[in-house]
């Protein structure tokens, strides 16, 4: 039996517009999500903003009740056995919010250690260990309002691990961190996985998922559109090659015109300093470079390169709905 199991999870939000003539509408945030995470696995849930990642996590950590479907953690139902689930999980949301700003990092950890039932004698050594782990040792007596974003993020990680939970949910933990802070946090996540924790990680960063996750599910518009190991996804979804064309002053509508070319699977545009890079994923038997160049309306072209698809290319293919 999987440690974390979601079966046909649905979640609909009811929202309203207008004041006097209030109109209600239902928004389906999650539409039939199913997956299982095995003991000790680091499972990635990838998707664009609004895809349903956070809603899925919130159902698994008992903060939201599913509209339909079931989910369990370590065999406990997330609705019926919410307290049993809460005892066994840690969770961390990305961003700066979620900290008692006026109090010190130590006060924050001390309070949650009590809430999570850490035995009194173990609280101090446990907090010391976690402060060391997340690199906040020596700063714990400062008020949290003076912490940088990265420090708050690390405080969240420490809070989520206070009771040494076997299952950890990390919702975009590296969002907004500087590269060094994000790298350190990724190292911490990797060490948790090595220590045998079962982890569900959501992220926007494909290289992060590629580097950390044993398996990945890509979610888009509330539905899982692909899942497997990073290697499986690259092999099965992103067939063919990727052509990158550096263009200075990309004409409007170019991406749409290139997308319509035979053999083109997906197209995206990245800004890199003064240039725009047209990233074109092609099917294995296509060679559309000449056709792409002829659609640039005479714009200045810089470097042209070909490479194997990355996980990011897989992601773009999946969430662009092509």
């Amino acid at each position: 039996m999987a440690v974390v199991e979601a079966l046909d999870l649905h979640r609909t939000y009811r929202t309203s517009t207008g004041v006097l003539r209030r109109r209600w509408m239902d928004v389906e945030a999650v539409r039939g999500v199913s997956f299982g995470i095995e003991q000790g696995e680091l499972f990635g849930l990838l998707g664009p903003n609004g895809a349903g990642k956070t809603t899925t996590i919130k159902m698994l950590i008992t903060l939201l009740i599913p509209t339909k479907g079931t989910a369990s953690v370590l065999g406990f139902d997330v609705v019926k056995d919410a307290r049993e689930v809460r005892r066994r999980i840690g969770y961390v949301f990305g961003g700066e919010r979620g900290v008692y700003e006026r109090l010190s990092g130590y006060d924050n950890l001390r309070y949650f250690a009590e809430l999570y039932g850490v035995p009194p004698k173990e609280i101090r050594p446990r907090i010391d260990y976690l402060l060391e782990l997340v690199g906040l040792k020596g700063r714990e007596q400062e008020r949290a309002e003076g912490y940088s974003r990265g420090m708050k993020q690390r405080l969240h990680i420490a809070r989520g691990l206070l009771h040494d939970p076997p299952v950890v949910f990390l919702d975009e933990p590296t969002i907004g961190l500087d590269p060094i802070g994000a790298r350190e946090l990724r190292a911490t996540i990797a060490s948790l996985a090595e220590a045998g924790k079962t982890i569900l990680l959501t992220t926007h960063y494909m290289f992060e998922a590629d580097a950390l996750c044993d398996r990945i599910a890509v979610i888009n518009r509330g539905e899982i559109v692909a899942h497997g190991t990073p290697a499986d996804l690259k092999r099965d979804v992103a067939k063919g090659t990727v052509v990158e064309v550096e263009v200075f002053g990309l004409p409007d509508g170019t991406a749409d015109r290139v997308r319509a070319l035979s053999g083109v699977v997906s197209v995206s545009v990245e800004e890199r300093e003064q240039a725009q890079v047209l990233i074109v994923q092609t099917s294995s038997d296509a060679e559309p470079t000449h056709a792409i160049l002829s659609n640039l309306d005479g714009a200045n072209v810089g470097r042209i390169s070909r490479r194997e698809p990355t996980l990011e290319d897989v992601y773009v293919t999946l969430v662009s709905g092509e």
């Binding site: 919130k58 903060l63 009740i65 809460r86 979620g98 008692y100 006026r102 001390r110 009590e114 999570y116």
Partner: protein, 256 residues
């Protein structure tokens, strides 16, 4: 034992957090001056029976009620804004044990308002501070704080459920001052106000303090305050359970 420890640690945590708020510091300086002035001028123009201390205690209790009302509700709303509400909901203990220390802390903070109101009254308006029955007075204070804190528990539960429950707390401040006899004597109010006032702990709390101050018998009032507190605890436990579940169903725990 574990429950008591959780309440104690939570109470200390929230008292510390509240006293580090600059908004609290500002209101804790200004409000007692305003309340002491109200007490003094009401007494002077009223020319009714009773001592100045009798009125000043009512004014001090206004501060405890305001602190409980805005503290219990405001703290929930503040936790929602700063993103800690979800973290507090998804912990293993019953939500009652998470919120109760918070509401007790806000009522305790209100004690400062009572003390400061009496001191300002003494300094500027010569309010006499002699208490006839100090033992009963000292007992009545924590009982009143606990009674109000438990009433705050019921209020807090509505803030869990509704993102805009501030309107409720704004609505409740002045009416409760009135119907519990903090501002004017209950004998001046219409008869139908009586049963409402009897159901509210501030009524019995202020009466206990007043009786202790003027050498009356405060023990029945102290008993009523405790009894009402117990009723509030049962109601609060039920409403918190229901509202927590509804909030998880309707997704009102966070701002997004």
């Amino acid at each position: 034992m574990r429950t008591l420890r959780l309440i104690w640690i939570g109470w200390k945590f929230h008292v510390k957090s509240l006293t580090l708020s600059s908004f609290f510091l500002l209101t804790s300086v200004l409000q007692p001056i305003i309340f002491a002035s109200i007490a003094y001028f009401m007494f002077r123009v009223g020319a009714r029976e009773g001592t100045l201390l009798y009125v000043a205690l009512g004014a001090g209790m206004m501060g405890i009620w305001s602190s409980t009302l805005f503290g219990s509700g405001g703290a929930i709303q503040w936790q929602r804004w700063q993103g800690t509400l979800e973290y507090c909901i998804a912990v293993p203990p019953p939500f009652l044990l998470v919120i109760l220390p918070l509401t007790l802390a806000t009522a305790t903070i209100g004690l400062y308002s009572l003390t400061a109101t009496l001191i300002w009254g003494r300094l500027f308006f010569d309010v006499p501070l002699e208490v006839a029955n100090p033992v009963a007075f000292v007992v009545a204070i924590p009982v009143t704080v606990v009674g109000l804190g438990l009433l705050g528990l019921i209020l807090a539960s509505t803030f869990i459920m509704y993102r805009n429950a501030n309107a409720l707390s704004n609505l409740l401040e002045y009416p409760v001052w009135l119907v519990t006899g903090l501002l004017v004597s209950l004998s001046l109010l219409p008869g139908w106000v009586g049963p409402i006032s009897w159901a509210l702990a501030p009524t019995w709390g202020v009466n206990a303090l007043r009786e202790a101050a003027i050498a009356g018998n405060p023990w029945p009032e102290i008993g009523m305050c405790l009894a009402l507190g117990a009723v509030y605890l049962v109601i609060g436990h039920f409403t918190l359970q229901q509202f927590e579940r509804l909030a998880r169903e309707r997704a009102t725990l966070s701002l997004t």
